[in-house]
């Protein structure tokens, strides 16, 4: 010993600082190193009779055998969950709050066991599991214990969804479990959860805790296994919702296979998040930010800041600082308390990283790695910096999911935004500047669900987390995250039969009728694109008849090129989106005013088309004006929140428009159905491409004249008439459309959901069910605005 002290005294080097694995290993041993499935509150050997091994990636040693659940196992779990729903709902919010509170307490009491087990199974540093993962898990259950308590008062219009199938990844095993389970339970749902095949152990320990606190049987079921197990959950008819975190490719499969089933889904997928550094940033702090962005959890983080965008003026200085810092990073066994980087989860992931890095070198980017080398046993990859990267490089586009940072430079603020948004993903962004004007100018312009200012990779239960674009949809955390686990009670009231209209008592006299033998002037209904009336690209028109088959006139027959033009127009006219809520309200009121001036004409049109009683038609127009007032009222009131997160910062939860929305209007209310769908969408700042009622389009084509007299910026509302199903499919497949609402058939709904998977459009479809648009709850309200927006959380730490 003595020589050792003397040597260390001279070298001042670090030594090993191992966290003991003995308690965790004892726990595994107590289970004979073999784990069954947790179904209906009890442990069941898998009906598949198959097991697979879980390995410590830092040592390549096997830890335990894990059950492979097959379809029958999953069925058993889903049935248990289904059976448990009623009781779980009926015990009420307070009882559920007590259970969630008990879970939080148990996790804290066994925090170190969870931490060590997680590090063993995943290979991530014990510092991270001990100081980040597990405390956040406990926090998540505490926070949602609160929501369980408050649900009955705060969500009166909502009810639970039922059985939730949850599939989680291996990068934050227990934390992702918490993100999924806590809100679902709080809102009264029951759960079948599948942990990732590489990292099942903490989920199984969690199951034990559920049993310990006497959580009612069936409320939480844990089934382990591979992709097939997940597929069995996704495809099980009694699963009411799927919540998934993982790769975008698998997310797409889930979107497609649930299309048309009515299952709700929330997807938290991949990312290639920008880390933007402006020249006035605190560069030494930036360097630590980079460490937290890309060398946290070996870079296996969906929101890792993997694209470093640096203002050109400081790039060289910053790269030098980063390289110096990389030399000081320490890599090694997950249970060493003095390491920064642990092991990569599995050989297959390591191989992917190696191949992508190789590709980066081959494509001409400059690779830099520290001079020290990685341990030989275990799956390790050194921290890596690529410079001389261009946006067209593969490594700049593809999610590497490893400790690899690619750096690019920008000249101006607007170029920074362009580079940041030059990706299919949109999970998170981090931006660094000491200028608050700049920070708050940039944050809303970045397409990402989370924007961290002068910080990165910080999380809290009170803040929503989730993606834009192909990073998925839905939020986890915050009040916004709860809507993923409830549904409006009125959804159950909706029927497939349309609400009957009051028939006309006599044949309707219309203005287009001949008068005194002189023909009325022919009226041409055009389409409306970019603020201009527009003829159809194909040069065809189609006849329109009344409900009783009386010919009324013709409308343009729009085709895919008209859709293309309309989307283009919507995309290039951002003016509407930049207006304040007050300005949008002014224009919506003005529309209402101008519509009122033409109330008789619009009533007349409805009478012609539907052959309804004028009183009935008049009610539709009046209700449309009323609705315009509703959304004009909301325009400056549907605002965000400042979340109470646990760090010293302001966390702004801002509802933002998607951008371009496609809206396929219901057939049955020519004007009110049109107004009720497009107006909430534009209220939130979206620009829309609308396919009005195919059968009765004249209310919509008459409406553009109202728009033209109401100061509505061109390109905000674009109207394409024609065949609904054909046009809606073109829109569903259009990659520059961010969201789509569809009110039509069950079959059409399925197609829309299926086709939207490619660019992960946000969809809202009616599955063939009809709304009573006259009804204030069914036809309007905050839920429409929620579906027309997504919440961005902006974290702004402060302190001078």
């Amino acid at each position: 010993m003595s020589m050792k002290v003397k040597n260390i005294f001279e070298t001042m080097e670090y030594g090993p600082a191992p966290e003991s694995a003995s308690e965790a290993m004892a726990w595994i041993k107590d289970h004979n190193k073999s784990f069954d499935l947790f179904i209906n509150g009890k442990w069941h050997p898998p009906l598949s009779k198959k097991y697979f091994k879980s390995v410590n990636p830092a040592t390549e040693q096997k830890l335990a055998d894990i059950s492979e659940a097959n379809e029958k196992d999953v069925d058993k779990a889903v049935k248990a969950a289904k059976k448990a729903v009623t009781n779980w709902v009926e015990i009420g919010g307070h009882a559920r709050a007590r259970y969630l509170y008990a879970i939080a307490r148990q996790i804290q009491k066994h925090a170190r066991l969870f931490s060590v087990l997680e590090s063993l199974d995943n290979g991530k540093p014990i510092r991270e599991t001990r100081d980040i993962d597990i405390p956040l898990v406990a926090r998540h259950f505490y926070y949602h214990a609160g929501w369980a308590q408050l649900r009955d008062q705060e969500f009166k219009k909502y009810k639970e969804i039922g059985v939730i199938g949850q599939i989680i990844p291996w990068n934050f095993p227990l934390l992702m479990l918490a993100w999924k389970i806590a809100p679902a339970l709080a809102m009264g749902n029951t759960i079948v959860l599948k942990p990732a095949e590489y990292t099942s152990l903490t989920a199984l320990l969690f199951a034990e805790i559920c049993a310990q606190i006497n959580l009612p049987a069936g409320v939480v079921n844990i089934v382990t296994g591979h992709g097939n197990t997940g597929a069995a959950i996704v495809n099980h008819p009694q699963v009411d919702k799927i919540a998934f975190t993982g790769s975008t490719d698998v997310g797409r499969i889930i979107r497609k296979s649930t299309a048309g089933t009515g299952k709700k889904i929330s997807l938290e997928l991949g990312g290639k998040s920008p880390f933007i550094v402006f020249e006035d940033a605190d560069l030494d702090s930036v360097v630590e930010g980079v460490v937290d962005a890309i060398w946290f959890n070996q870079g296996q983080v969906c929101c890792a800041g993997s694209r470093l965008l640096v203002q050109e003026s400081i790039a060289k200085r910053l790269y030098k600082k980063i390289r110096a810092r990389m030399e000081k990073l320490r890599i090694g066994d997950a249970l060493d308390k003095s390491i920064d980087i642990g092991a990569i989860i599995a050989p297959v992931q390591l191989k992917t990283i190696e191949e992508l890095v190789q590709q980066g070198v081959e494509e001409g980017s400059t690779l830099w790695q520290p001079s020290w080398s990685c341990p030989k046993d275990g799956y390790f990859y050194p921290p890596t910096l690529f410079t001389d990267v261009s946006p067209s490089s593969t490594i700049a586009q593809v999610e590497i999911f490893g400790p690899v940072l690619v750096a690019m430079t920008f000249r101006t603020h607007s170029e920074a935004i362009k580079l940041a948004n030059n990706t299919r993903y949109g999970l998170a962004a981090s931006l660094w500047t000491e200028n608050i004007n700049l920070a708050l100018d940039m944050a809303p312009k970045i397409k990402a669900g989370t924007v961290w200012i002068n910080t990165t990779n910080i999380f809290d239960a009170a803040s929503g987390f989730g993606g834009y674009r192909e990073s998925g949809f839905g939020r986890e955390g915050g009040k916004e995250g709860l809507y993923e686990y409830v549904k409006l009670r009125l959804e159950e009231e909706l029927d497939t039969k349309p609400i009957p209209r009051l028939k006309a008592r006599k044949k309707t006299e219309t203005s287009s009728s001949h008068a005194n033998g002189i023909p009325a002037i022919d009226r041409t209904s055009k389409m409306y694109i970019g603020g201009k009336q527009s003829r159809p690209d194909g040069g065809y028109s189609m006849p329109i008849h009344s409900v009783n088959g009386r010919f009324l006139g013709e409308v343009s027959k729009g085709n895919r090129k008209d859709i293309r033009n309309a989307v283009e127009a919507a995309n290039t006219s951002a003016h509407w989106t930049q207006l304040t809520g007050h300005s949008r309200a002014q224009i919506l009121y003005y529309i209402a005013e101008n519509l009122t001036a033409r109330e008789a004409e619009f009533t007349d049109r409805i009478c012609q088309m539907l052959e309804t009683d004028p009183e009935d038609a008049g009610r539709e127009v009046a209700q449309s004006i009323d609705r315009l007032y509703t959304y004009a009222a909301w325009a400056d009131k549907y605002d965000g929140q400042v979340h109470h997160t646990i760090h010293r910062n302001v966390t702004l939860a801002m509802p933002e428009p998607f951008g371009v929305m496609a809206i396929i209007c219901p057939d049955e209310y020519p004007l009110l159905g049109f107004i009720s769908t497009i107006i909430p969408a534009i209220t939130m700042g979206n620009r829309v491409v609308v396919v009005p009622s195919e059968k009765f389009p004249f209310s919509a084509t008459d409406f553009y004249q109202v728009l033209e007299t109401s100061d509505m910026p061109g390109g905000t509302i674009n109207i394409i008439t024609g065949q609904k199903e054909e046009l809606s499919l073109v829109l569903a497949k259009h990659d520059d459309v961010d969201a789509i609402w569809y009110f039509g058939t069950k079959k059409g709904s399925k197609d829309i959901e299926y086709l939207s998977a490619d660019n992960m459009k946000r969809t809202w479809v009616n599955h063939g069910k009809v709304r009573n648009w006259f009804d204030e709850d069914q036809g309007a309200g905050e839920s429409f605005l929620g579906r027309a927006s997504q919440v961005k959380n902006i974290w702004i730490p402060y302190g001078a």
């Binding site: 010993m1 003595s2 020589m3 050792k4 002290v5 003397k6 040597n7 260390i8 005294f9 001279e10 070298t11 001042m12 080097e13 670090y14 030594g15 090993p16 600082a17 510092r127 100081d131 006035d280 940033a281 605190d282 030494d284 702090s285 630590e288 930010g289 030399e327 000081k328 320490r330 890599i331 090694g332 066994d333 060493d336 308390k337 003095s338 390491i339 920064d340 020290w372 080398s373 990685c374 341990p375 046993d377 000491e434 002068n454 910080t455 010293r648 910062n649 730490p797 402060y798 302190g799 001078a800």
Partner: protein
Amino acid sequence: MAISQDKTTRDKKRVSESDSHMRNPGMPFDIDMFQDININRSAVERRVATLGKRRSVKKEWQAAWLLRAITCIDLTTLAGDDTEGNVIRLCAKAKQPVRTDLLKALGMEEANIQVGAVCVYHNLIKTAKQALQDTKIPIAAVSTGFPAGQISLDQKIRQIKKSVAAGATEIDIVINRAHVLLSDWKSLYHEVAKYREACGDAHMKTILATGELSTLTNVAKASYVCMMAGADFIKTSTGKESVNATLAVSLVMVRMIREYFENTGFKVGFKPAGGIRHAKQALEWLILIKEELGDEWLHTSLFRFGASSLLGDIERQLEHHVTGRYSASYRHPMG
């Protein structure tokens, strides 16, 4: 198996060279060197909050590191009731800070473990000099109207000169906080440059009194200006402010030392002072220095703790390391 980044052979060489690095001569005042500095407090606090969690020093490593910490202590007494008696006692402790049986058990009896310096008020320099005459332990004197610095510049210069003449080899000066708060960087520079001149061969530690500088950005700029003016060390606090050495201000200051070194090639030392009482804290500071500045700065020539009670806690930890039993303070000779 963690990979060690320490290059042992090179470091051994540094140990012998470390005492002889070239003194920072300072440089002409140049506002461009520091005016754009921006420190993000939240980010700095996050870094220091995780520093001690990212690195853990245990067992033999802990014992060795704590012994190194002792060699970096400016064993200090700065009290109104200081007398010859307690200063002589302090000097005796400085010469022999750890019980010899413990040193022997640690294999360090030959290592000549002594503290970095003894730090006193001017009036006690003479006493300390006598008490330490058979050693190489430097005598540091606080100066320039310590702690508040609210006396005239002439008096300050005279104080420095008198202390140097009395035998102080290190002078801990306090800066005029008003210059910082009024962003009068040029005046700060000139004043500190004058102190440096007055110090002559004695090494100058510049106390920023960071607890009174309001912002971390001020701390950073003041650090840079003092180094430009020729500080051999920059030091956090007098120990008399309401907030003294914190890891956050230390991080900001050592980053400035690194910046200054990269810009000029001169190494400036760092001395956190006030409030460092526990061995665990000492380890955190050593980790901070090792991570941000490198092993070269982990020597008494470039790093000091300004502390009076830290040594006692370190002694207890060392005995615990040797015996496996938790120690009591009365088992260690007082200073």
